[in-house]
């Protein structure tokens, strides 16, 4: 499969269909990392295995823009797993990416693994093995039985007494160092200037006080409501091991349950929070 994928990348580069292919390579210490391939002769660097868990769609936010005003958007080929395809669909729904400038190289996903060889938790609850969106597809999709996401992880927190929930989140937030890796890795976080980083401290300042960190994480989760494709990039890049998926998945769960089973990136419908303006006619008592 990898040979075919490399051949495709070579063909795209040689025919100048794309300027660059974003994929994965193995770094000098054996870690898999993103790579930008510009030369046809470099396509042999491309690999695909169960450690390719970075969401490369993030790079489109930067690359899929004119370099200078008035210039054309550069063309890009990009390797996309099923979860990444959902992120891409979200960006397309929000007109963040020019589809005709992107060649989507879909890969059938065997399920990603942690460094110790165990399956990643997010992959155990995912039954998508083929991206919903691609121009060319590589790999044989493995058989998966129907998996229903039960939100067991979220419910575990929900079931805790309030004081324990608070204590849990305080201990997690306390570790946050405000490196913003979660935001930078997230394909959905494409604002030019993050509201948490404004020079005028409009909402929060720059300190490591818990309320400021809480504000950042709450608003980030909230802004991703109906937009988070559960690629888990935020959690994977966090140097302090903060379980950010628990925040995002709480919102995913609520959106699914209150907005007609909506899941981000599975259709061309953008987030229902701002686009669906009906459905509440019966509501009279709120809380």
């Amino acid at each position: 499969m990898i040979e075919e994928l490399r051949a495709k990348a070579r063909e795209l580069l040689e025919s100048e269909t794309v300027e660059c292919v974003i994929g994965y390579e193995v770094g000098p210490t054996g870690r898999v990392r993103p790579v930008f391939v510009y030369e046809p002769d470099d396509v042999d660097r491309l690999v695909f295995n169960t450690r390719c868990d970075h969401n490369l769609v993030t790079y489109l936010n930067r690359r899929n823009k004119p370099r200078k005003r008035g210039e054309e958007v550069p063309t890009t080929g990009i390797l996309v797993k099923p979860c990444d395809a959902r992120s891409l669909q979200v960006l397309l729904n929000e007109n963040q990416v020019q589809r005709d400038k992107v060649t989507v190289i879909g890969v059938a996903c065997p399920g990603m693994q942690n460094a110790d060889g165990t399956p990643e938790a997010r992959c155990l609850r995912c039954n998508q093995r083929v991206p919903l969106l691609y121009d060319a597809l590589f790999g044989e999709p493995p058989e998966v039985s129907d998996i229903a996401d039960t939100y067991a992880d979220v419910e575990e927190i929900e079931a805790l007494p309030r004081e324990d929930r608070l204590a849990y989140w305080l201990s997690e937030l306390d570790r946050c160092i405000r490196c913003y890796a979660c935001r930078q890795a997230c394909p959905g976080c494409f604002c030019d200037v993050c509201e948490s980083e404004r020079d005028d401290s409009l909402w929060i300042g720059i300190t490591d006080a818990i309320p400021e960190k809480a504000f950042f994480h709450i608003t980030r989760a909230f802004h991703l409501a109906g937009r988070c494709g559960e690629c888990n990039a935020c959690e994977m890049v966090c140097p302090m091991g903060i379980p950010l998926s628990l925040l995002n998945r709480k919102i995913v769960k609520e959106v699914e349950q209150t907005m007609g089973g909506y899941h981000a990136g599975l259709s061309e419908e953008p987030t229902p929070l701002v686009t669906r303006l009906t459905g509440e006619e019966d509501i009279d008592e709120i809380h």
Partner: protein
């Protein structure tokens, strides 16, 4: 909003921020005043052009600046001055509330209610109930509030010399 300051639990009077829609609840509050319907004095009214203007940021900032409770008052569904603004509100505020509860904030600290311009008694009743509920909770604590100034809880250096 940084005019607000928190009190001690003893004789605790909660600080409440009420975001009120210009076209309904703000008018209701106004006529409640004219009609001399008693309504709680602890409420800091913030007029917005539509309850949909009340973003998560505004709610959180109110909490961080000293509010012990935040209530959002908007038009009944179907009555929005801008046709569909409150459809956004009703998706947004309950979702934020659920997230705050999930993070350990008491459910009664954030509330969304519909109050039309003609419902001044309801306005008084809704705000009074909210103030009572928040009063029962006491002052807001973490994660949106810390008593110490930033950095003090950092392991610094204590008094005493090298032995």
């Amino acid at each position: 909003m940084d005019e607000l300051s928190s009190n001690t639990i003893e004789g605790f009077e909660p600080k409440i921020v009420a975001f009120m829609c210009n076209w309904c609840s703000y008018a209701a509050a106004d006529s409640a005043g004219v009609a001399r319907i008693p309504s709680p004095p602890d409420v800091l009214p913030v007029r917005v052009m539509c309850s949909a203007r009340v973003s998560a940021e505004l709610v959180l900032k109110a909490f961080m600046s000293g509010a012990d409770g935040v209530i959002v008052l908007g038009c009944h569904i179907g009555d929005c001055h801008y046709d569909s603004g409150n459809h956004r509100t009703v998706k947004r505020i309950p979702l934020l509330r659920k997230l705050l509860i999930y993070m350990g904030v008491e459910p009664d600290r954030l509330r969304l209610k519909w109050v039309s311009a003609a419902e001044s008694p309801q306005f008084a009743q809704v705000t009074k109930k909210f103030v009572e509920d928040v009063r029962a909770l006491g002052p807001l604590s973490a994660p949106l509030r810390v008593e110490e100034p930033a950095g003090v809880n950092r392991p610094g250096v204590v008094e005493g010399g090298v032995p």
